[in-house]
Symmetry: C2
DNA sequence: CTGAAAGCGCTTACAG
DNA sequence: CTGAAAGCGCTTACAG
């Protein structure tokens, strides 16, 4: 490994016959430098293929052009979609992105924040759901507070209880309620829900919104028709399987995420149930793939890439006295995976099911 | 923004009543330090919540614990899957990952390498397909060579022509050939191919392998049955639509990636064609979702996450005199999207279609 | 406008 | 085993 000495600012300065200070100024776009000096510096830098050492720069400037992005699983289409938006804005702004993927272990999230804080990133983006977990919130806030106090920026997607951070808040509660409304309008009265870990704020919000809307319509959700699974494709598959084992009494199944719905669809199919003929199925998020399922999935659309762009944009804005919340609208998208129930139980006509915008 | 002064090594040393050198040694796990001093340092560091400044460290050590990872689109399940594997190994090794997503603009790939090189990352991982593009290869090699000469490590997934880099090589050519064999064994003689940009080495390899295998079986592929599209879901949708516009004469359609196959499946369905009753469809990669399609997709499975782990592992090994290539096996996975042709044209029985392993 | 000098926070030979 | 000192490569007041 023939370690090659790196070309340094001093080399450039020397080659150009100026001081390092002047070379630095030129290379940083200072305009108050004599034209001929500037040219010599630029020429020398080009000839020597000079690349500034970002660590030296970060050290001297006490700031770096990097942002940290933490998600639960970069292999998950939901996070991949948001990350895509983040990368877009990062590229436009010339920022580096340091990625953290926790594999859904929440302690790793704290560890990543600690690492990125040490790294002196300009901003930290939390794009995974928050946790309803007091000790975790304490630990996280313990990392975040000093970082923010030192001038760091933090922005999150979804509700992060207990953390004082700027937030891009997708309409989880309202969206689930709107979806419930649309499914009720279709004539459903018997629902099952495939839910995720109860400690996720996203689960709380979506499940809460859905249940509330049902309750307001006088519809109750039987406890045994709520099945918890992992927030993954396999989690959806297994939750649906468990639901069938318990005995499916619902005419419509709501999976809290599209990813879970995808697994559920296969489980239903494997058990000989046709969607929507035998049972309707709805998801949440509108990840890219669900329009290609058979049948295409009814869902609540979240603009994933836009979520990513927004959270990045928010992090790049200066901090305010109190943390801000940007609500992001979504919309119910009715597709073929939902239809009026085959066996409406004492059902009276409902208003037509249109696309309900929020 | 009340900029808080950061706790420095000197603070720790002072609090512990030792020199910065000693504090540094303790914090870096040196064993040859008197126990009581070590304890005092550790205590002070803990009490002050000291975090070393990685930039200072990188500057002093002339190396940083970061690796750069460049893909074409982090929103694409293929790359998201590989990235997942990369993140796994990175976490295990305590490495930071700087992510680059080029949005399929090849110049951005060079720009990212340049940036990461400047960043003094330990290694650069190219996980996107290579390009059959001489000027691009020159530009890329121009960035890579000095980086490597300076001790940097580079590893790639897929064939990167013109770049002297260690490679994790999925069996694109052999895989496509094996898939062709399996489809021939099913009785197909009339094929169509939905291909991607011809400048991608992955396209060249998969298309070449597929065609070759057909040729060896005495089957030719009509030029008008080969349609090029973008390497995306929409590219697959559009290519399939164009194929139908031209007149589908094939009994089996091969999409060069699962992502394209997903779009193609929807296009076929929208045009009233049943898969596999009217036409068989096969993809490549075995991204997580395709098992949940209706019908589940026949494909050539690549162990995506493993690809990511391997390329990372390779980059962490010391460089060798000549670049290495790790071939990664895959396997044909026959699912319900392929079946014997509905109208076998002068067809003689073929050997039974089993799962053909490579 | 330009340069000498100090400083960013850490590591590591080099003496003791 | 421990510490004083130099150095990593850059930036930025501070003088001129």
């Amino acid at each position: 490994m023939p370690e090659q000495p790196q070309v340094t600012l001093d080399d450039v300065a020397q080659a150009a016959g100026v001081s390092p200070a002047t070379a630095s100024r030129v290379l940083n776009g200072a305009t108050q430098v004599r034209a001929d000096l500037r040219d010599r510096v630029l020429e020398a830098a080009g000839r020597l293929a000079y690349t500034p050492n970002p660590h030296a720069r970060a050290l001297a400037r006490a700031s770096s052009p990097a942002v940290g992005v933490i998600c639960h699983d970069i292999g998950d289409p939901y996070f991949a979609g948001i990350a895509r938006g983040v990368m877009r804005t990062a590229a436009e702004e010339g920022l580096q992105v340091i990625l953290g993927s926790t594999f859904r272990e929440r302690e790793r999230e704290v560890a990543y924040v600690s690492m990125m804080r040490g790294q002196r990133v300009r901003a930290i983006l939390l794009i995974g759901s928050g946790f309803e977990d007091r000790p975790w919130q304490k630990a996280m806030q313990g990392e975040l507070a000093p970082y923010i106090a030192a001038g760091g920026r933090v922005a999150a997607v979804s509700r992060h209880q207990g953390l004082r951070v700027d937030t891009v808040l997708p309409e989880n509660r309202e969206g689930a309620a709107a979806l419930a409304g649309a499914l009720l309008a279709l004539g459903h009265r018997d629902f099952a829900v495939l839910t995720g870990p109860a400690s996720l704020t996203t689960v709380v919000d979506r499940l809460g919104g859905f249940k509330n809307a049902l309750a307001e319509a006088g519809v109750t959700l039987a406890p045994d028709q709520i099945v918890e699974g992992a927030f993954t494709r396999d989690g959806g598959y297994e939750a649906a399987t468990e639901l069938l084992r318990r005995g499916l009494r619902a005419t419509c199944v709501f999976a809290l995420t599209d990813v879970m719905a995808v697994g559920a669809l296969t489980a239903l199919r494997e058990h000989g149930l046709a969607v929507p003929a035998d049972v309707s199925l709805a998801g949440f998020d509108d990840i890219p793939i669900v329009v290609d399922l058979t049948p295409p999935l009814t869902t609540f659309r979240l603009p994933l890439e836009d979520l990513g762009r927004r959270v990045m944009a928010m992090a790049l804005q200066p901090a305010r006295a109190r943390s801000r919340t940007d609500r992001v609208l979504g919309e119910v998208v009715l597709r073929e995976s939902t239809a009026p129930p085959a066996r409406p139980a004492g059902w009276s006509p409902a208003p037509p099911a249109e696309r309900i915008s929020q």
